[in-house]
Symmetry: C2
Subunit: 344 residues, 2 copies
């Protein structure tokens, strides 16, 4: 990504902004071919509902009438957050690193789901021993830190990936997500703030106050959505943004996870409408503001199961559904081949 090299005469985000303008579009010929195929299969037209749409969407991004899900990669980015000093989470920040070990050992929920649905899983821990700065008091990341995290995200996307699932881990990161949403979408800080891993109502109020102070400090300086990401995000959020851009540059379809993952994607869509056209929302989580964020992003979630864990668990559940969509698309008989009469 040479475009993203800093030039001292231009703002740090200019290279990314240029890349976003030049992002490839889906292959409409493959989408049309997939749609035409669907209409020959032994079912009333459209009767598989969104399963048909998912297959056609995968076709468009993979450039294949019959898409495949042979190599599905789950990337989990982990970061630590200085804002935990404000008491925004019921869990201690030590849990981020401990969960990274748990991911590596296969004991976390996302590990079990990824295995069940046939996805690889890779954890990328981002400088866990150096938490970001406390976003309530100063920018979470320097320009260099933010760009480095975005590059780590981009570099993590493997070769020949058919579908990318994105997830995160970071005690304190729903505070970042709320602040980012509030800065980029407006509205009251408390309308973007929820219980995260399980704050009580008093804790949520305190967290909203932290978000409000962060907005007051940083919003006047967010000349570009990526500047909001740098000031209010965290390394794992920046890495997710970098991975989404990298996937797009290679036309790899992406499944987003919950509130934090979608908040990390938000600056890209705000910077360039259509930047997330290669992304599906795996689910809508129980974190109250997630549904509203998805609406703002124009994303219709695949699953709605009251989950609120992050890690990529909602994206993994969606993978299970996409596998069914593809099995039907690729494996069903046509009316002609099966000798079934079509409608009169």
């Amino acid at each position: 990504m040479n475009d993203t090299q800093k030039n001292p005469r231009e703002p740090w985000w200019d290279g990314y902004a240029r890349s976003l303008e030049k992002m490839p579009r889906p292959d409409e010929k493959s989408r049309d071919a997939a749609r035409a195929r669907q209409d020959t299969l032994t079912k009333p037209q459209g009767a598989l509902g969104r399963l048909e749409d998912f297959a056609c969407w995968l076709a468009a991004w993979q450039g294949r009438e019959k898409p495949r899900l042979e190599k599905v990669e789950t990337l989990i980015f982990a970061g630590n957050h200085g804002v935990t000093a404000e008491g925004v989470s019921p869990f201690p920040p030590s849990v981020t690193g401990q969960m990274v070990e748990n991911f590596k050992g296969g004991g976390a929920a996302v590990c079990q789901l990824a295995e069940a649905y046939g996805a690889n899983l890779r954890v990328v821990d981002l400088d866990l021993n150096h938490p970001t700065a406390n976003l309530m008091r100063e920018p979470a990341m320097s320009t260099d830190e933010c760009m480095a995290a975005m590059a780590r995200g981009a570099d993590a996307v493997g070769d020949n990936v058919d579908l990318l699932l994105l997830g995160e881990m970071g005690i304190g990161n729903t505070t970042s997500a709320a602040a980012l949403c509030c800065a980029l979408l407006g509205g009251a800080p408390n309308s973007w703030t929820g219980p995260g891993t399980g704050l009580d109502p008093e804790g949520v109020s305190h967290k909203a106050e932290v978000v409000a102070r962060a907005i007051e400090l940083h919003k006047p300086h967010c000349a570009h959505p990526l500047e909001a990401l740098r000031r209010l995000g965290g390394r794992e959020l920046a890495a997710i943004a970098g991975a989404i851009m990298e996937a797009r540059s290679r036309c790899i379809p992406v499944v987003l996870d919950g509130y934090v993952c979608c908040a990390a994607a938000l600056p890209l869509e705000r910077a360039q409408t259509g930047a997330l056209d290669h992304c599906l929302a795996g689910h809508v989580s129980a974190e109250p503001a997630h549904a509203r964020l998805l609406e703002q992003l124009g994303l219709n979630p695949i699953a709605d199961l009251g989950m609120r864990l992050g890690e990529g668990t909602g994206a993994a559940i969606a993978l299970g559904i996409l596998r069914g969509a593809l099995a039907a698309h690729n494996g069903m008989a046509t009316f002609d081949a099966a000798g079934v009469d079509n409608r009169e």
Copy 2:
């Protein structure tokens, strides 16, 4: 099912009604053990949302803290309907038998989904050469026909089944479903009538008129919900009801499919509250009345993907999600084992 032998002095449904009264209850000890296990796993309590509930529900019905999904059986019951003479479907009735062959050949959507999610599939065709009588003019089935179909459904449930998925095929059967719902739940005939496989609005109006005439004819004679099943249902609907009762008698958990499958289950719940406690709704379909029927049954659907195909496709999609729920439940590490700090 000796209870269901006819005694000339009592109505035909009395044996079923007695069986429904004596149905076994779930194992609450296993449910509690599963819930306790969930609360030790490396995630905030409740963070997997409904996935946790599904695992505990399976535990309760299987009587195991760690449930299994080794043998999952999909039963598809197929029947033909005399009411097709009224022009209630855009597809000719020949399609029922042709689709049975397509099921056997693996070309139908449910075959691909069942294979993708690791379920067996068996098709039970119920006297396809002798359609039920035209329910607009007379009872769809005789007492003997209805009881025989229920017995076929019960007999079809295999041994050692961990989970049963139910589906159906029958051109014309959404008319039966609408008439059953209208007879048992009240409301206007057109409020239960939808496009099915794809009627245009004019066709839907005509179908609602057929339902209205059927209700006028039969409703005064529906002294028991199973009598409504006999008069307004079809063989595949009666078989589904029989399979649900058989599964319950053996504590086998069941996943229901769409509108027709749930309409077939409705008489049981109306006859005996709690008769469907061992059933989940796999999805809510695009057939407009399905959501309302699910509400009446107190069932919260697992998926909502705009599907409207029947066959068991919605139940199969739900199986994919249940596999994830179980993988997490059975395979995740505990806080202790993983050395992860719990909340402060």
